[in-house]
């Protein structure tokens, strides 16, 4: 499209439409417009309101004084062109055409003199819509003119090797969860009648673990190594009970070479291993 076909709007605030982002306005009607260009111009209206607004603006008229008769005539000419070009949007334009025709006919009818003109001006609703549409067109222009990300400004990023420092997080468990899990496990056991749980002091079980653990590194322990004086009488009792329990469960052996000699605690595994060699 050359400048001979279209010119840039000079004083009119609203162009006919946008073609390839450029505001475009129609030449006087007697100027020949190639059909291709005409189609482009007509397509560039974003709708009947856009066209209507253009026609009003072209006549440098205020929306409020909507000159319904000439505007309807001009509007119909454009819609006819669109129909000739078989533009898909024609349907929406026809709705507007019907509305204009209706307003026009109501304005031509004689009005009873008593009626309040402001209240019943058949153009009022259309004027309101045109005003709102004009405001929104302004909003659209604002949006188009505002700095846009990816067009005018770009998000700034720096590189980092911090990702390598992300630690593998281990699941967290609370004591309360542990206790609940234990009671749930026991609830399971309750459902299975054949299970039998012995009554015993927890601290004894812990001491059993500790003694077995010690026996992993030292093959034999002196009984005196197991008793920690700083734990006091209670501690000694727990350790003693633990040893008895371990013996009972056949996990350790207690040996004494001579009367009154050092008593040793040996891992049954060790005994087993020794006896097989």
């Amino acid at each position: 499209m050359s400048n001979a076909d279209v010119t840039i709007a000079q004083q009119q605030s609203l162009p006919l439409g946008f073609v390839r982002g450029e505001p475009v306005i129609e030449k006087p009607e007697d100027l020949y417009i190639p059909p291709d260009a005409l189609e482009l111009i007509l397509e560039s209206f974003s709708g009947p309101m856009d066209l209507l607004l253009y026609l009003i603006r072209r006549q440098k008229l205020d929306i409020v004084d909507l000159p319904i008769l000439p505007i309807t005539k001009q509007y119909m000419e454009y819609v006819d062109m669109m129909k000739d070009l078989k533009l898909e949007l024609a349907a929406d334009y026809l709705v507007m055409a019907a509305m204009l025709a209706e307003i026009k006919s109501r304005m031509l009818l004689p009005r009873p003199p008593a009626e309040d003109e402001d209240e019943h001006d058949p153009r009022a609703e259309l004027v309101r819509r045109l005003q709102e549409y004009e405001a929104i067109r302004q909003g659209a222009e604002h949006l188009d003119g505002m700095p846009q990300t990816g067009r005018d400004n770009f998000v700034a990023h720096a590189q980092t090797d911090a990702q390598e420092l992300i630690e593998q997080q281990l699941p967290e468990v609370t004591l309360a969860e542990l206790a609940v899990a234990f009671s749930q496990a026991l609830a399971q056991a309750k459902l299975q009648n054949h299970h039998h749980v012995q009554r015993e002091k927890l601290s004894t079980r812990e001491r059993m673990s500790r003694i077995l653990d010690l026996l992993q590194t030292k093959k034999r322990l002196r009984l005196s190594d197991i008793f920690e004086p700083k734990e006091g009488r209670a501690g000694v009792v727990v350790s003693f009970l633990a040893i008895l329990e371990l013996v009972k469960e056949a996990l350790v052996e207690v040996t004494q070479v001579d009367a009154f000699s050092e008593i040793h605690v040996t891992n049954r595994e060790q005994v087993y291993a020794d006896s097989t060699t």
Binding site: G17, F18, G21, S44, S46, G47, P48, M49, D50, L52, L89, D92, V95, M96, D118, E119, A124, E125, V127, R128, R129, Q131, E132, Y133, E134, A135, I136, R137, Q138, G139, A140, E141, H142, L143, D144, M146, P147, Q148, T149, G150, R151, D152, N153, F154, V155, A156, H157, A158, Q159, T160, A162
Partner: protein
């Protein structure tokens, strides 16, 4: 934590985060260091002033703070890429403007004002860009969906909130229904307020 180190850390974070970081997100991030909101605000203000005259600037957009290039440099920078940024059609811009300025709004409202049916493509594009979302239904027959803009919309246009949109004339009131229109406007403000959280 030293203020100088905090400043470096915030600066670095804003440059590596995938999306803008809000004050709250930063506060959460620095919770282990007991950084106060006041300290954060001070550092952010300092950073904004440090970058005032630089090629990148610290901007508060809808979803938080981010560094972005100066708008004036757009032309020079976009040479980096072969592809031209998309240009949006007049129809799309009008639809977006209606949702932005008159939210929450139904598709029917948009069609009434624009005098033309809204193409599904436009609504799809706007939703895919993450600029608009459904925030509810109008309690009228058919319960049409109400659309509003998102934080991503604000981010895209480098806006912190909708009040920063350039002003346009208020919608003209319907002659006889003036009271009702005012009522609707009130509801709208309440609705959008809850949507911005």
């Amino acid at each position: 934590m030293q203020i100088q180190q905090l400043k470096q850390a915030i600066e670095a974070l804003l440059f590596v985060a995938e999306s803008p970081l809000s004050e709250q997100q930063l506060a959460d991030h620095f919770a282990p260091e007991n950084v106060t909101k006041k300290q954060l605000k001070d550092v952010l203000r300092e950073l904004q002033s440090d970058y005032q005259e630089r090629g990148v600037q610290l901007i508060l957009v809808g979803s938080g703070y981010r560094f972005q290039t100066r708008a004036e440099l757009g032309g020079i920078i976009s040479r980096l890429w072969q592809e031209k940024p998309p240009r949006y059609s007049q129809a799309l811009l009008e639809t977006l403007a209606l949702i932005a300025y008159r939210q929450p709004i139904t598709r029917g409202d948009i069609e009434e004002i624009r005098g033309v049916s809204v193409s599904s493509n436009i609504m799809k594009t706007l939703q895919e860009r993450g600029w608009i979302k459904v925030v509810g239904h109008r309690e009228v027959p058919g319960r049409p969906q109400l659309y509003a803009t998102t934080n991503e919309f604000l981010d895209y246009f480098s806006l912190h909130d909708l009040s920063e949109l350039p002003a346009i004339p208020e919608p003209p009131e319907r002659g006889s229904n003036a009271g009702q229109t005012a009522q609707i406007k009130l509801e709208i403000t309440a609705e959008t307020a809850t949507n911005t959280e």
